[in-house]
Symmetry: C2
Subunit: 342 residues, 2 copies
């Protein structure tokens, strides 16, 4: 199969004029006789001509393409971020090369190489849960390709980042549980590799401390976000001699799983045990009971990150500032902590 895309040469031949003139006409160069221009444009349209961005990119050393690397596409979070990012990119005439790495470090590295080989003008990155080595991203920095992290950021790189205040949000979530009268609050934490896990854990601990509650290691379970394991952990927690009466989960899918398991155990939510999630996923308002959670401005994260990235690209490498934008979160109180009279 050979694709016969129309080229400038085809148009030039068709009109018996030089390629340069065609090129000028197509790019809107002023020094082209109006009738020539119109003739060229007409033929171009007729022949379905599309500029070959490859050759242009080769010349300009710019592809007008931004790479976006995210860890997964299972939950609605990352697709929504991408939508926001794409929106801003499109406004500025940029395309987007998306890849999700299934939470695999190997794949993340491989995908980053693909981005490099395809000469993206910049990258938007959220790390996989396995990523502990950042050399592949440092390479971008070294090559002068701007990089902006969001959500799952790399703390040891001084580049722009878009985050929410995970510490504060977790603090609010746990404080809310305390204020509803819960005394023993467990935390299903994320993997230690992710900064967001650590920050949310800190928020959890500090909220307990503020109210003079002990930080009980038995009630803190770090896990690798493999949802199927939630069942085991919840069961374990419920069978403790002194089981928790509240759970703060690292994210909504975890919380939703937890709710399922708790219900199967015949316990009442929130009376026996209350649950709070993080991120306000699509499903969270529908489950029974509806999930109290922290909402993040998902699309806005995408928009902000892309905005920062495009700003960066206008500037000299030396002027890149590692700005950190922190977006607002909000505690959404639903039935999994406070039963509405409804």
């Amino acid at each position: 199969m050979k694709s016969h895309q129309t080229t400038i040469i085809d148009i030039a031949k068709h009109l018996s004029i030089s390629k340069s003139t065609v090129s000028r006409a197509l790019t809107g160069h002023p020094s082209v006789k109006p009738e020539t221009r119109e003739a060229v444009l007409a033929v171009a349209q007729e022949m379905d001509y599309q500029r070959n961005m490859l050759s242009i990119s080769l010349i300009t050393n710019k592809t007008k393409t931004i790479g976006i690397i995210v860890p997964e596409f299972m939950t609605s979070f990352f697709p929504q971020v991408v939508v926001g990012a794409q929106e801003i990119a499109a406004q500025k005439g940029y395309n987007v090369l998306i890849s999700q790495c299934n939470e695999s470090y190997e794949t993340e590295v491989a995908n980053s190489r693909v981005m490099l080989a395809n000469r993206v003008d910049g990258v938007l990155v959220s790390l996989s849960k396995e990523t502990r080595n950042f050399d592949h991203w440092k390479t971008f920095h070294r090559k002068g390709i701007p990089i902006v992290f969001f959500n799952r950021v790399c703390e040891e790189m001084a580049v722009p980042k878009v985050v929410v205040d995970d510490y504060d949000a977790a603090f609010k979530a746990v404080e809310h549980l305390i204020q509803t009268g819960k005394k023993r609050i467990a935390h299903l934490a994320g993997p230690d590799s992710l900064a967001i896990s650590r920050k949310r854990l800190n928020g959890y601990e500090d909220a307990l401390r503020k109210y003079n509650f002990p930080v009980d290691e038995d009630l803190i379970i770090s896990y690798d976000l493999t949802l199927s394991k939630v069942r085991i952990y919840i069961r374990h927690l419920l069978e403790l001699e002194n089981p928790p009466d509240g759970i703060f989960a690292i994210n909504d899918p975890t919380a939703i799983e937890a709710i399922q398991v708790i219900k199967q155990h015949g316990l009442r939510i929130p009376e026996d045990i209350a649950v709070v999630g993080f991120s306000n996923n699509y499903a969270s308002s529908f489950i029974e009971p509806s999930l109290t959670t922290i909402s993040q401005p998902v699309k806005e994260i995408g928009r902000t990150a892309m905005g920062l990235l495009l700003d960066l690209m206008d500037k000299e490498t030396a002027l890149w500032k590692p700005i950190i934008k922190t977006l607002e979160t909000e505690l959404i109180v639903r039935n999994s902590t406070v039963k509405k009279i409804s």
Copy 2:
């Protein structure tokens, strides 16, 4: 900002040998002295060299990139299809250029031009709800760029497609409602522009006919998939003189909205009115009551579509066969039609 990506010339200079030798070493050509190759490879690694795919694409007239155009990223359906498609593409060394058009025809056309300009080797397409003109896709066909439709296919183009048997699935769904004793079954249909809407509607009608139920136009509401409108339609249906006791919704988000509204009206599900959706979205098993729906093999749709596309690309244009792959669906019975004793 200038990105200083290493080139073959840099390596050649560094080693004082010719570019062609470097190129050969890098591409694994056999006729290179092993020590030369190793030297090249070592320097390449050291200098973070990545082959510039742009120039290679320019020469080979292949970009090793597949475009994927989907109508939206709000529901989990399309992101999941993309995951499946990407999986197969990656296996064969292809990248993926994704764009979602927010259900806008204009954006779909614009995005298709971007794909053309970026010389994708093929495209995977699911149409926006507004698309009624297919010229932009016919252009691909004419230029010899293979195209495979999935889910929301273009019926008037003879190209490969991946679908489920929407007619049969809708039939099963409605038959199920009938078998649970429902007598007046309404259908919240999709826009007429989409073939899937029409097929599901046909399945609905034929199921009614099979059981000698009248097809009542008052109970069929076609809408444009704007979720916020569901409230109005459901309210309208419930206030009919002779309201329905069952609803078959075009998709799960619609069904979930419907359930919310019905509950707010104080009606019992499924006793007063039963609801069936379509697609088995992530949220559907969590809502209260859980949603009876048709499950589609989402990732498999993506895998199959990408598989077909890659097959196409190995063949001469003349040999392209408009294969239509129909994947299996399954009726998932949950509490919105049959209350479990639980």
